[in-house]
């Protein structure tokens, strides 16, 4: 609570005490009570009346202040002092609550966004100097001590440490870094001190990008927000016109109806005429949602994408780097010669492949993991599209695909595999094979299962890989359909075709890694980029960026979206519903100004409290 609010609270309490005093003290003389009432009213409502007068001078008549002043002074003129003051008192209490709630939500959002680094320790000739991250240039050497936030994107040149990336990814698992590794601004250095060379200026660094994205996200309005804007434009004038009619017509038409009675009812209308509850709470809901989701490593670039995600029917995945890790690794070895170990097979193959830069060779070298003894290799040659032949330690090694085996007349075993098989022949005898494949991410299957348990009608995969690999992966993950052997251009065509299969309100989401599928990401109703941490391309192209590379964040993003849309809808129905009921009851004379005050500030307060829930995305 700030100073302004505290002052208002004191005035409300003082005014309230005087009001009670005026009601209890019966001096027998009317004027003392009237004086007490007036002092009480001045304490409670003077600022409102002054503001109303000032606004009228400036030519703005119909605002809340004017309506409140009119309603309460009107009540006092018809000798309802206590009610006039009480209504003003309630209004002020409500306003105070409402400001408090808005203030609190602003603070919690600010805390959520508090990932901006305050300073950087730059290495200079005479030791370290603390400067603002804005003043650090690319190439500067910075030192990050344990417990400090990494100020700019950089590369480690000295020292090793654990980084807490939770501010960016929502993951609590710390990440190890050592010299040569890229570090991202916004992460917190946990233990060791590290020295790093700055690779991006502050404006371009990850933390600035994320903050900018989250702040600008509220400019892309959701349908509910657009609805509120339109609603507010018509609601207030209509209610004010109705109020005037209510004050004037019934006394003229109905027998026995008095102007004072119907004016009183009309005053209630004026009090309820502000659409504040909606104007504040709906944008607040979406803004909180964007903040809350970003805390979980899910960046949503506009409120409208929450709606699209919540209505997604068809989910299309890219394969490599999205559902699979995108790294080729030796999955298994199968040895067909007696008394040969896996190590021996890998050793021979690794030596034969050691001079090749082919990704397959690199994977074999990686799993072998030991130093290559160049002196035992001779006569190495690469047969393009087939494999490699070399003499290793006096043995003739032939390593390659089935075509190479046939070419050299070696009998090999044929089995169906997902991935690339490297057959190995030793001195023209078949030794076995090494299977190299891209590995599925460990939560891919679970993610698909969760999506299907939700409202997703169809899950599909688009891949440039061949039909047998694609088909196997699809059946392992439980995907409904797979389209294989697609060139990047074919992916867009396929997506266009799929877009026509969605229902009227249903949306299509495409999940890719943002590396070469930017056009597809852009074409889909919602483009989701995976593993956005540190990849500018993905952040640019997608509508939703998953900061980690876990597919299971996608069902989570949908769940969060549904929750947020739910909260927004609750607020709309609640606020409009209560206001309409109060309008009807006031017109019929069932309820008085008290209920109208609730319909204004009370409803706003409750709606703002409800929108708080969007911050908590668990």
């Amino acid at each position: 609570m700030n100073d302004n609010m505290r002052k208002r609270l004191i005035r409300i309490i003082a005014g309230g005490i005087l009001l009670v005093a005026a009601l209890l003290v019966d001096t027998g003389q009317d004027w003392t009570n009237v004086v007490l009432f007036l002092i009480s009213y001045i304490l409670v409502g003077a600022d409102i009346v002054l503001r109303a007068i000032r606004n009228i001078i400036r030519g703005r008549v119909f605002d809340e202040n004017f309506l409140m002043a009119l309603a309460t002074i009107g009540a006092m003129i018809i000798n309802e002092y206590a009610e006039g003051i009480a209504v003003m008192l309630l209004y002020q209490i409500g306003e105070l609550f409402q400001d408090y709630a808005v203030d609190k939500s602003r603070r919690s959002i600010a805390d959520l966004m508090d990932i901006r680094p305050d300073y950087a320790n730059v290495k200079a000739e005479d030791g370290l100097i603390k400067v603002s991250p804005d003043d650090v240039r690319v190439g500067d050497i910075i030192v990050i001590k344990p417990g400090e936030r990494i100020p700019l994107d950089a590369r480690v040149i000295e020292g090793a440490s654990m980084l807490d990336t939770s501010a960016l990814t929502g993951e609590s698992l710390p990440r190890e870094v050592e010299p040569g590794d890229e570090i991202l601004s916004g992460c917190i250095n946990v233990n060791g001190a590290i020295t790093a060379e700055v690779t991006k200026e502050f404006e371009e660094s990850t933390v600035s990008k994320i903050l900018e994205l989250v702040e600008n996200a509220s400019s892309k309005k959701s349908q509910s927000e657009q609805f509120i804007t339109r609603f507010a434009r018509y609601y207030t004038p209509i209610v004010v016109i109705l109020a005037v009619l209510l004050a004037v017509l019934p006394p003229l038409i109905l027998e026995g109806a008095t102007f004072s009675e119907w004016t009183y009812r009309a005053l209630s209308f004026l009090v309820v005429s502000c659409p504040c509850a909606l104007v504040i709470s709906i944008p607040l809901t979406f803004f909180s949602g964007i903040g809350g989701a970003s805390k979980r490593g899910i960046l949503v670039k506009g409120s409208n994408y929450f709606e699209a995600l919540a209505n997604t029917e068809i989910m299309v995945f890219d394969k490599t780097g999205t559902l699979t890790k995108g790294v080729f690794e030796v999955q298994e070895t199968n040895i067909k010669q007696n008394n040969m170990s896996r190590e021996e097979l890998l050793e021979l193959a690794a030596h034969a492949e050691s001079f090749s830069t082919h990704p397959i060779s690199q994977s074999i070298l990686k799993v072998y993991g030991k130093d290559i003894d160049q002196s035992i290799i001779s006569d190495a040659k690469e047969i393009a599209g087939h494999g490699i032949e070399a003499m290793v330690g006096g043995k003739k090694i032939i390593a390659g695909n089935a075509k190479l085996m046939r070419l050299r007349g070696i009998d090999y075993i044929t089995e169906e595999h997902i991935g690339t098989v490297v057959h190995v022949g030793i001195d023209n005898q078949y030794a076995g094979y090494i299977l190299i494949a891209d590995e599925l991410k460990k939560d891919s299957a679970q993610a698909i299962k969760m999506l299907k348990a939700g409202a997703i009608r169809q899950t599909l995969m688009l891949t440039g890989d061949n039909q047998s690999v694609g088909g196997k992966i699809a059946s392992m993950l439980g995907l409904d359909k797979v389209f294989a052997e697609l060139l990047p251009g074919d992916k867009v065509d396929k997506l266009e075709e799929l877009l026509t299969q969605t229902s009227d309100k249903g949306k299509l989401a495409y999940v890719g890694d943002g590396i070469n599928d930017a056009p597809v990401l852009a074409r889909a109703d919602v483009g989701i980029a995976m593993g956005g941490l540190g990849s500018d391309a993905a952040i640019e192209a997608a509508d939703v960026v998953i900061m980690t590379d876990e597919p299971s964040k996608i069902p989570e993003a949908i769940r969060i979206s549904k929750k947020i849309i739910g909260i927004a809808n609750q607020n709309i129905v609640f606020a409009i519903g209560v206001k309409i009921i109060i309008l009807i009851f006031s017109a019929l004379g069932f309820t008085g100004l008290w209920a109208a005050i609730f319909g204004d500030v009370g409803v706003t307060f409750i709606a703002v409290l409800n929108s708080f829930r969007a911050l908590k995305t668990k």
């Binding site: 400036r58 702040e215 507010a232 104007v279 944008p283």
Partner: protein
């Protein structure tokens, strides 16, 4: 050229949108946005026009919600 300001004491969401509309109507302003939640005002305009725009904006803000102050970021 984009300039950012903080609107200290901005308390009413309706006023924020009224300010946004009014500031956008100023002749030299290319685009202006008022974010009620972050209390931020972003004005896109030519550099040499900024100071005269700020004066106008101060008047608009004073008129719509007295007690709100503008601070440059």
């Amino acid at each position: 050229m984009k300039k950012k300001f903080i609107l200290k004491g901005l308390g009413c969401a309706n006023c924020a949108s009224k300010m946004e509309t009014a500031i956008n109507k100023l002749t030299d302003v290319k685009e202006a946005t008022v974010n009620f939640m972050t209390q931020k005002l972003v004005i896109d305009a030519e550099e040499d026009k900024i100071s005269s725009i700020i004066e106008e904006v101060e008047k608009i803000v004073k008129r719509i919600e007295p007690g709100t102050r503008i601070e440059q970021l």
